[in-house]
């Protein structure tokens, strides 16, 4: 994956987040404060704008820009968390011109670590970690199995989606949903749903 490929991914995230804004907000209305769709849409709209103005020259710079722009424009819990994740990925990628799946996987692991350092959530806490962690595991497994990049990404996207759906029966331990106690059970976590969208976007651009 080169910078053009990352740019396409980011644009696709922006497009699907905008298209799915209301669904994300509805999920957040059930167990949060009804702003997750609006938050991410505001963030990725800003990212698109920055990207349109001047495309960063390295893959690392591009993801760092995404992270910083999210931190600058989103606010809430998801702004710093996603922002930190993209910045960590950018730091790991640096000026790598062509990112392999293995390198992408390493970068994503750094992103996840950043999220967990900030938010202290582990798998099962009903957060975006529950979509991100299995997606990375699937990617790592694919790398180990030596499957084709498209297949690896497809597996990651499927795992993210399954991970998001698996948050439904969970009792929330982190984020706003935790305030609801047992009433958080039975609803999909909005952040996990947006993480699934991010992987679906990657899948969409790599199979184009």
């Amino acid at each position: 994956m080169n910078t053009a490929c990352f740019a396409a991914w980011i644009e696709e995230i922006a497009r699907t987040v905008h298209a799915e804004k209301d669904r994300l907000t509805r999920l957040d209305a059930a167990i949060g404060d009804a702003d997750h769709g609006a938050n991410l849409d505001r963030g990725f709209t800003a990212v698109s704008r920055v990207l349109a103005a001047k495309q960063p020259e390295t893959t690392g710079a591009m993801l760092t820009m995404v992270g910083s722009t999210l931190i600058r424009n989103v606010g809430g819990a998801s702004g710093p968390l996603y922002g930190m994740a993209f910045r960590q990925m950018g730091r790991v990628l640096g000026d790598t011109p062509d990112v392999s799946i293995a390198q992408l996987c390493t970068a994503l692991e750094a992103g996840l670590a950043g999220i967990q350092k900030l938010g202290a959530a582990t798998e099962g806490d009903k957060t975006l970690v529950d979509a991100l962690a299995p997606a990375i595991q699937a990617l790592a497994q694919s790398v180990q199995d030596g499957v084709k990049p498209e297949e690896a990404i497809s597996a990651a996207a499927a795992a993210a989606l399954a991970g998001a759906e698996a948050t439904i029966p969970m009792l929330a331990h982190k984020g706003r949903a935790s305030y609801l106690g047992p009433r958080s059970v039975g609803h999909e976590d909005p952040g996990a749903a947006s993480t699934a969208l991010i992987f679906a976007a990657l899948h969409a651009v790599t199979t184009r």
Binding site: D33, A34, R176
Partner: protein, 333 residues
């Protein structure tokens, strides 16, 4: 928008338009509309600890209405129910720094905590001494290290008032931090919702309640509470809330009490609740030595109320009585 029954010009312009109105209504404030920061018009006072708070919009008058003499030096509103972003808060922190450090007053929500934390890291790079106090007074949420912990709600008003007074007297940062933490430690809140609220971007109530249903243990973001219950007389609802507070931190002696409206409840009903609170306190051998009855920490147009209590001592009472001059609280000047 079109059909949403809100006095707004569009979802995007809610916060900027509010800031324009605020600037025009209060000559004592200076509003940086570009960066979305509300300052005292008088600017920072050299040698005084600066107080900055911030949080999602939708809780007015919190925090913008508490900027002024004896309270905050700056407030940073985010979008509705969304914490502000670090660039905004670092700008505010730098601007109010009078050489004696800056206190951040942070309500305990993951988003607020993370964004303030990033701000503090950036402030350190600029050699500004920043301390933060976390407000987490809502007893409806069980405290545990395995969760996000208690929410910060009504006690924020008490912390901002009392820490603001302390800072005004010229106390050093560690003293201001200490008193802020003490207020938080002595304060507890519990809220009851009679309706949900409608965020501008959703355009309909966040959740639905039947004609006789209410939510016990609500926060200030239109979210449902811990349990659903049925409507009861004001006295019973006040006692449910007071029992929750008393159970968590027994009430006794002089107490600072706030009966807070959630935004859509008329003042007449808040006074009725307050009358019951006074009875409750009397029964426990406590008394409402100081009080606020009105809309102070709201959740847009939600109907309902919250009660916040703080066990006073002589110093806290003196600091509460210290002059204050902000849009929403004013006495002694």
């Amino acid at each position: 928008m079109g059909t949403v029954k809100k006095l707004i010009n569009g979802i995007e312009s809610v916060v900027p338009d509010t800031l324009r109105g605020l600037a025009a209504a209060h000559p004592g404030l200076r509003v940086d509309e570009e960066n979305r920061i509300v300052y005292r018009a008088a600017g920072p006072r050299p040698g005084k600890v600066g107080l900055v708070s911030g949080g999602g919009a939708g809780h007015e008058p919190l925090h913008t209405g508490f900027v002024g003499y004896g309270m905050l030096d700056a407030a940073c509103p985010g979008e509705v129910f969304t914490s502000p972003v670090p660039y905004q808060m670092i700008e505010a922190t730098t601007a109010v720094h009078g050489g004696a450090g800056v206190l951040h007053i942070v309500k305990n929500y993951t988003g607020d905590v993370l964004n303030f934390q990033m701000t503090a890291e950036l402030s350190a790079e600029e050699n500004i001494e920043v301390a933060a106090v976390l407000v987490d007074d809502d007893v409806a949420v069980h405290n545990s290290i395995y969760t996000a912990g208690r929410r910060g709600t009504g006690a924020t008003v008490f912390v901002e008032k009392i820490a603001g007074a302390m800072a005004e007297t010229g106390a050093p940062l560690h003293e201001v931090v200490r008193v802020a933490e003490e207020v938080n430690a002595r304060s507890r809140s519990f809220g009851i919702g009679l309706s949900s609220c409608t965020t501008p971007s959703v355009g309909k109530p966040t959740f639905d309640l039947g004609d006789t249903e209410i939510e016990l243990g609500i926060g200030i973001h239109g979210e449902p509470g811990r349990t659903r219950s049925t409507m009861r007389p004001a006295r019973d609802l006040a006692w449910i809330a007071m029992d929750a507070l008393h159970e968590d931190l027994p009430l006794s002696g002089d107490t600072l009490v706030m009966v807070n409206g959630m935004g859509g409840t008329p003042l007449i009903e808040l006074y009725i609740v307050f009358a019951e609170v006074v009875d409750y306190l009397a029964e426990k051998g406590a008394r409402a030595a100081r009080s606020l009855v009105g809309n102070y920490t709201t959740s847009l147009d939600m109907q309902g109320f919250s009660i916040t209590t703080c066990r006073l001592d002589d110093q806290l009472t003196r600091l509460w009585d210290f002059p204050v001059e902000t849009p929403a609280l004013r006495w002694g000047r």
